[in-house]
Symmetry: C2
Subunit: 199 residues, 2 copies
């Protein structure tokens, strides 16, 4: 691609190595960046550098934070007897957006996947068990994804936690709100049937 | 969004101000960046800063380059009697990728759009006319987009250039190769009909 200058080519290559950014988007972004006012470029560069420099795992729940403890773990208003286990910080954010969950979280940073060679020791599972032995937890809500890996992880955690006597629950699987039965896959339909509740 | 750390929130906001990056992609990118090795983050940051610092318009054709003249304008192998007029550097790159065009380019950096308040003076049109009066050009190929703005710009340029006696041509508009007539809009079909060539 010598019809671009080498600096542009390098920027395009670097950008297209990011997830979800293909070659076309990278080109578009690169030209946009070059045409941005210097001030905006500085903001972008410093946002990236600062986030990388200061963001780390929360010592307790392992979500990303720029403090020792994340705002949720350090809050005094949360119900410390409940821990919701999620795969990643985005899932935590998804539940926080509902504004209804008042317990704490535990971020695994992944799910068990024999296919990808990710075992129980590659995710923050030991850390979860350590928390359960140190804190006074009454319920562990497993909110891993409803995928093969998420389900495997849920099963694994439930087997680990049950012997401790702590209640283990799994978020419900079924027809999403607004979902049209006609377009929903059979497994979900069967799950929804199995999980039916009395009205 | 105080369930993320402020640095992450800031990075997400900055990223989502870029074109084609919505809030979900920005979240995904931000978490990816925070988890990238420091070295890769440095590469990304320096690619952005360096491109912004060093890339400028080619003095002759106004494409983006880190030299005084772009590789195409400074090449001795190009046919200097032909200038292809394009809206932006990505369009130039699209034609360069064909490897078949041997002339020079002129990048307008936009198209005339009364709707968006972009007039002839807002694009590199005076600069084109200056080149035509100084260089020995025999043909101007107008390769602006086949949109309302692109067509308007093509008409405008053709009216400006014709009195100088230089040949003005427009790239063909018609059914794209591999295109299925059934799915092609009527205007394109009529254009293709109007532009039919003898076999």
């Amino acid at each position: 691609m010598d019809y671009y200058s080498s600096q542009i080519t390098k920027l395009i290559e670097t950008l297209s190595s990011l997830p979800g950014i293909g070659n076309k988007s990278a080109q578009r972004l690169a030209f946009h960046i070059v045409n941005m006012p210097q001030e905006q470029v500085n903001t972008l560069v410093s946002a990236i550098s600062e986030a990388k420099k200061n963001v780390q795992y929360c010592k307790k729940c392992f979500t990303l934070t720029d403090q020792e403890l994340c705002p949720i773990c350090s809050s005094t208003k949360r119900d410390e007897k409940t821990i919701m286990v999620v795969e990643n910080p985005r899932d935590l954010a998804a539940y926080e957006k509902t504004g209804k969950y008042e317990g704490l979280y535990h971020v695994l940073h992944g799910a068990i996947s024999p296919m990808l060679g990710i075992g129980p020791n590659d995710i923050k599972l030991k850390e979860l068990m350590k928390r359960l032995s140190e804190e006074t937890v009454e319920e562990v809500i497993i909110a891993t994804n409803s995928s093969l890996e998420g389900e495997t992880t849920a099963m694994y955690i439930s087997k680990l936690v049950k012997p401790t006597g702590i209640k283990v629950t799994r978020i419900a699987s079924g027809v999403p709100v607004g979902g049209d039965l006609e377009y929903i896959d059979e497994i979900t339909l069967l799950r929804a049937l199995d999980g039916r509740v009395e009205l």
